[in-house]
Amino acid sequence: MVTTTALADARSVAAQVTDPEMPMLTLEDLGVLRDVAEDDGRVVVTITPTYSGCPAMATMRDDLQHRLLDAGYDDVQVRVSLSPAWSSDWITDRGRRALAEHGISPPGAAPAGGPVVLDLLPTRRAVRCPRCGADGVRLVSEFGATACKAVYTCGACLETFDHVKEI
């Protein structure tokens, strides 16, 4: 039996586990941590992948299990939830500030649902350089060092920086 207080504590332990690729973000701030609940005496943590092929999922699962074990929860299960699919809108305001402070441009609003319309023009985003704040930035590639990021260059300070994509 996991008491209500113990469950709240387990939730705060899980909420402090960080993303392996972007350690300035907790899994909670990234929106990957969906739920911490009790099921028949065990702590059940539910996470959702950012991208189908996200190689960090195994590490996240291991980290959650290991941190909860260290905190005294010896019966922990980490479940994956695929639906609803992760959206960059789930990154919290605190997470967005943490990204910007570490030189990563946070995402804008995710596209609305419905049919995906073909767009052959360059992607337009209201992106500012997270280092110098200039808005004269250039998209280098829609694909970056991890599946969730695009690459930009700042026209003012000439730094290259990552932008978390809207999905």
């Binding site: 392996p20 996200c54 694909f143």
Partner: protein, 305 residues
């Protein structure tokens, strides 16, 4: 707050469970997902249908990953590798879904083998058991061929996944809804490069015009409904690809018109020994691809680290 990631070597040196050498410790990408078969669906049909879509993603992912370190520039190297990674993720989920729906679809492994079902399906099936379209098999060719093929494939797959998001199987529906967001980026990438190559230099246009007929030979196969696809659609779990032709054609025509390139008129590749990719009849390209992809796993069926 303690840092879980002090050193990348910690994970290798720790006293963790031993890992199947070709997978991760995340044995089952569907861990904790309810994989009950929906009412009205036949498990074997659902499993074969998942193999079809999963094999498309797996084979094409492996093919695209061959661009890693070979692309024209670093940005495209990373873009193609990311595209391959998204498709590999979709393949893992779809193969795991196939295994959960019908365990008899998974090749038998030696007693005590650490190989999870998805890896067993990926590395231990022979060529005739693969149900992917022949469209995804050919060698990459040059960058123009790669872009032309990626444009057609991602347009087809996006239309397919958008409909599959309404599947009566909640697992397939979730995999599809997730995949739509990813494949939308692939189509955008290929569409923009297609227009850029068409309107770039005489050489880039020449290459693109030469690429298109090569890719188009297998175009009709995308929309040729296999009996398993028809059954899956009738049972509410799958999508009949014949119904995608109009929408896919409209999107491709839009890209071709923007690029100022004519839709090629080439004869379709015929069946092989009376069958097509969905029947397990493949081009010679697949056997070489599988030999590369599967040889290490097969040499070490108990490989652990």
């Amino acid at each position: 707050m303690t840092d879980d990631h002090d050193s990348v070597y910690d994970g290798l040196l720790g006293e963790d469970d031993s890992h199947w050498a070709f997978g991760t410790s995340f044995e089952d990408p569907l861990a904790g997902v309810d994989t009950t078969i929906p009412d009205g669906a036949d498990p074997a049909t659902l499993a074969t249908y998942c193999l079809m879509l999963g094999d498309d993603a797996l084979v094409y992912s492996h093919r695209l990953s061959q661009w890693a370190s070979n692309a024209p520039d670093l940005e495209d190297d990373i873009a193609l590798a990311n595209t391959a990674l998204d498709l590999l993720g979709q393949a893992r989920l779809l193969l795991a879904r196939a295994a959960a729906a019908d365990p008899s679809a998974v090749p038998a492994m030696p007693e005590g083998s650490p190989v999870p079902a998805e890896d067993s399906l990926a590395f231990f099936r022979d060529e005739p058991a693969f149900r992917n379209l022949r469209f995804v098999e050919p060698e990459n060719g040059d960058f123009a061929v790669t872009i032309a093929r990626l444009l057609v494939f991602s347009t087809y797959r996006l239309a397919l996944l958008e409909r599959l998001a309404s599947s009566s199987d909640p697992v397939l529906s979730a995999i599809a809804a997730k995949g739509v967001k990813e494949v939308a980026y692939h189509r955008t990438y290929a569409g923009r490069w297609f227009v850029t190559l068409a309107q770039g230099t005489p050489e880039s246009r020449r290459r693109l015009e030469a690429a298109l007929p090569l890719v188009w030979r297998h175009h009709d196969e995308l929309f040729a409904t296999h009996p398993v696809e028809a059954d899956a659609a009738a049972q509410g779990v799958g999508v009949d690809p014949a119904g995608l032709a109009g929408e896919v054609g409209a999107v491709l025509d839009q890209v071709l018109a923007t690029a100022g390139v004519e839709r090629p008129e080439v004869p379709s590749a015929g069946p092989v020994a009376g069958g097509r990719g969905r029947d397990g009849r493949h081009t010679e390209h697949l056997s070489r691809l599988l030999a590369e992809m599967q040889s290490v796993a097969r040499a070490h069926p108990r490989g652990q680290w």
